[in-house]
Structure formats: structure tokens, C-alpha cells
Point group: C2
Chain length 305, copies 2
């Protein structure tokens, strides 16, 4: 089924304790669509500048990502510069240059408006609302957000949340948005704002999925070499929504599977810089990593004591 993502395509300069890259390909929509492309047909809405390299565009085409919504504007591509310490859970932003992204106005083609599943990546909630106003009858809509929008555009963000089925946000943002430190209470407060499903991303600790009926704890894979966490959250969302779009059922069991698929994809992402490690995956590699996740969490039933 068709999956639409609206977000950023960027050039990231990242330094981790294990190395550094300059102007590496990144952005939420880039990671998301690459990840989701292993599960379903993806359409991408984003903007790049004239300086954006051709290779990642060709790569997305090779993954059958529909790029009719990828607009090239006069000017430079959105740039983000950040660094991570040994605690890879938290990035320090050193510089942000919006460039062509500052005038970004998501315009959906007639075909895009009919998308079955929509992901509103972390962009200004005003733009997220513009997307929601354009899509016609999506079966499932999810959104991400960040501390900046919680602080500066809370009203708009709440209007977004009232119209989505799922919020996919990280733990700190969940606390900030809900005013609750306890994750169960935070998820409940966020559900009261609209979404039926809340997914809390916890970096190297995995993810929590809250549904109206229950809660699911998906682990992150304890990798020997975590190289660069940039894009892990969007890669996670890409696996999650890509899998859901491939199944088009939204019950608790499918949601659980989708959350694990998200963790599987994120585990590939962090092993190398940029989207390098997401470029040559296939069903066999994904299935093998998925089975490692099963082994990671499986245990027997408790017998008599």
C-alpha cells in the first residue's frame, strides 16, 4: 500500500567518538523513506537545494521511492551539524542552517493525496497541518515532533495530535509534552490529545508501544559497535510505518511486529554513518536481524515454584 512521508532531506555534519563526516546525506524523510522502502511503496515530500548530490536521489529511485514530491529550490540544502559524546543517546546541536527549508511548503500531488498511510516527520506543526488538510482519506496517520515545537508551537502541535492515529516521539519529548515524568502517565496524557497509539523512542533502551489495550516493550539490540545514532529515530519510524503499510491492519499484534521492525531497521542505521548501512539490505538480512531480536527477548513460562 502507499506510504507518504513529509519531512526533511538534509546534509549533516556529525562527530561521534568514533569518527566524523561532513555534509553526509540525512534528514528525517531520507532516513524514513529508505527504511520504509524495504516494506512498501513510499512517496516523499521534501525540498533540497541545488547543491544536493545526485547519488542519494538515484539511490531512492532504485528503491522505488516516488520522488515527484521532492522539490529542488534555488539555494542550499538544509544543513545540521551536531556531535555526540560517549553517551550516544543525546546529540548536541552545533549549528542549523534551514536554507531552502525555510520556505518549504508541502504541496501534494493528486496521487499523494490518496495515500493510505501518512507520516508527518518532525517539521513545523503548521506544515504538518497543511499536509493533513490535503490528504483525502488516509487509513493511518502518524507524526513525530521535537522540543522546539513543543516550546514554540504547542497549539498547532495539539491540533496535529488531535488528527493523527499515532505519535512517535522520544522519551524526553513525551515528558515535556505531557508534563509527566512517568512514561505510562505521559503516554496516557498524550493519548488524551488524540492519538490512539503512542510510541516512545528510548534510544539504546528500545521503544515502548502504548495501545488502548496494552503496552509493549521492544528492545534495542545491544550492538558491539554503535557508530552514529543520527537518523535512528526516523529509520525506526520508517520500519514501523513501512511494515504497517505493508500489512494494512492496525491491531495490537501487527503494531508490536511493526515496532520490532522499526527497532531492527534502527539497529542497522546506527552501525555506520549516514544511511550507508541501510543501502544494501534485503529480506534475508532483515529476517536474520529480526530473529536475533526474538532470541534477545524470549523466555519460558513460569512453572510451579
Amino acid at each position: 500500500m502507499s506510504l507518504l512521508v513529509v519531512g526533511s532531506v538534509a546534509l549533516d555534519s556529525v562527530e561521534t567518538p568514533f569518527g566524523k563526516v561532513e555534509d553526509a546525506v540525512g534528514g528525517s524523510a531520507m532516513y524514513f523513506s529508505t527504511s520504509a522502502s524495504y516494506y512498501t511503496n513510499v512517496s516523499l515530500v521534501a525540498v533540497i537545494g541545488k547543491d544536493f548530490p545526485q547519488a542519494p536521489v538515484d539511490f531512492l529511485k532504485s528503491r522505488n521511492v516516488d520522488l515527484n514530491g521532492l522539490h529542488t529550490s534555488d539555494g542550499d540544502t538544509f544543513r545540521w551539524k551536531g556531535e555526540y559524546g560517549y553517551d550516544l543517546n543525546e546529540a548536541v546541536t552545533l549549528d542549523t542552517q534551514l536554507n531552502v527549508f525555510s520556505d518549504f511548503e508541502p504541496v501534494l500531488t493528486e496521487e499523494y493525496k490518496k495515500s493510505d498511510v501518512v507520516f508527518l516527520a518532525n517539521i513545523d506543526p503548521t506544515l504538518q497541518l497543511q499536509v493533513l488538510d490535503q490528504v483525502e482519506d488516509p487509513k493511518f496517520v502518524a507524526c513525530d515532533t521535537m522540543n522546539l515545537w513543543i516550546n514554540t508551537k504547542l497549539d498547532e502541535l495539539k491540533r496535529v495530535l488531535a488528527r493523527v492515529d499515532m505519535a512517535v516521539i522520544n522519551e524526553g519529548e513525551a515528558r515535556m509534552l505531557s508534563g509527566e515524568s512517568n512514561m505510562v502517565q505521559a503516554a496516557q496524557k498524550i493519548m488524551e490529545l488524540g492519538p490512539k497509539f503512542v510510541v516512545i523512542k528510548r534510544g539504546e533502551y528500545g521503544a515502548l508501544l502504548f495501545t488502548p489495550d496494552d503496552v509493549f516493550f521492544a528492545p534495542a539490540y545491544p550492538l558491539e559497535a554503535v557508530f552514529d545514532p543520527t537518523g535512528a529515530g526516523d529509520t525506526f519510524a520508517g520500519g514501523l510505518l513501512g511494515y504497517l503499510a505493508s500489512q494494512m491492519t492496525f491491531n495490537s499484534q501487527t503494531m508490536r511486529m511493526a515496532t520490532v521492525v522499526g527497532c531492527v531497521m534502527a539497529s542497522f542505521c546506527v552501525e555506520k554513518f549516514s544511511y550507508e548501512n541501510l543501502q544494501d539490505l534485503d529480506y534475508k538480512k532483515i529476517k536474520s536481524r529480526f530473529e536475533k531480536f526474538q532470541n534477545l527477548t524470549s523466555f519460558d513460562s513460569l512453572g510451579e515454584l
Copy 2:
């Protein structure tokens, strides 16, 4: 089978965002033996002062904990005062009064020396070594430690680690002890010091079990009300070692079960102050919570995409 714990029995004054208690019953051996008593016969070696109340002693007796090793010395009981912010993962120590604990010398009865399973709770590694010199042929020995001993008694601690089967430590201590930020590498470094099994406690994120063959991720239960995390780590270890002592097999599957049992017991502990919520458990309550953990982590196999 017989399980011996050597550690502290204390009076804790604790403040969390949800309330406060003064001189509440605590200490590693208290939490550990209460938790383990639901699975096996426990013997306790610790020291208390003349001011220690009778009720918790009577309670331990009612749980069939052997208290021949609980020595009452002239003076006051070990006291710890601490507080937690909304991030309940980290306690701030406000005051420590060793009192009778400063002269503590663990002396094992002839029966205790024959214990099958031994847990060296977080005490001075010099004392842990004294215990190891006394036990005769234990089938399984585990130890805990803390940042203080890593900083001040690293040589002694390494001699302890060389003689135990399992280290049960928290994430920050694992990083400090190994000099590695990555948990897989940290666990490997710690295994090189001696223990075949390493369990990393991660507070509200659960626990990781590293065996020579694989790794297991046990979740913490996302509770709506976490009241006081004091004692959770020792309660976890009590469930883990208590279950192992009840099974007396130490393969990967039993280890996994034991780790989940530890998480189950810790989940009860944190719901109230002190050991209050550990006092009236039974198999039915434990089994029911265990099944919640199963539901929390279960997901299907990945089919064709």
C-alpha cells in the same frame, strides 16, 4: 537449595517526589532475602544495632529466612539518607552513617559455609573476599558492587570478580569498571575479569544478561506509579538468585527466567516505600505479574514481506 546473602540491613530515610519516610527498613540483605525467600531457603549474614526494630526481624523469620548470621552489635544500625528527583533512576545520597556496620566482620556458621548459592551484596570487597575464603564449595556465586569500591578498592574488587560466577551491577558501574561506554564491550571486559555471567541493571529500562553464548534483554515493567526505587536492585538480585537456587541449573534458559523473575520482584518493590510491597506476595501474584512481563514482550515471527 540453600542461598546465602552477605550484605547490609539498614534504616533508610528516603524522599521521592511522591512522599518521604524516616528510618524505614532497608539494606541490601534485607531486600535481597525478602525477595529470594519466595523461591528458596535463605540464610542472612549482616549486622544491626540495638535500635533495630523487631517487626522486620519477625517478618524475615516468618519467611523462613535463617537469621543465625544476623548479629546485633552495641550501637546504632547503619543509616542511609537519600532523595530522588523525578528521574527516579538516580539517588542522591544526603548522609551515610555506618555505625555498627563499620566493624562488620562476616563470620559464617558451619552450615552457612556449605551454602549452594552465595550472593555477595554491595559491601567492601575486602569483606566479600572474607566470605569467599569461608564458603566451602558453592555451586554458584554472584556479587554486586558500587562506584565507591571501584574508585577506592579496585584491586580487591578484581580479586572478588576473579572468583565469582556472576556480576550483578548497574549500568553506570559497568561503564566505570570496564572503561567502556558500549554495554556489549563493557560486559566483555568484565567477563575477562572472571565472571561467566554479567547482569547489567538499567533501572526503569530493565536488565541485560550476558552469557558466554548470547545476550538477553529483560524489560522493566512500565508501571503507572513508581513510588520509590530504593532496594529495587537488591530485590532484583534476590529474585534472580532465589530462582536460580530453586532450580540449581545454570544454563541460558534458566538464567533468562531468573532475570525476568528479578525484574518481576523489582517491579513490586518500587510500588511502595521500603519492603512494604514485598511482604505479602504469593505464587499467584508473582505468576500473574510474570505473565504481564510475557505479554509485554511477546511478538510473532516475521513472515514474507
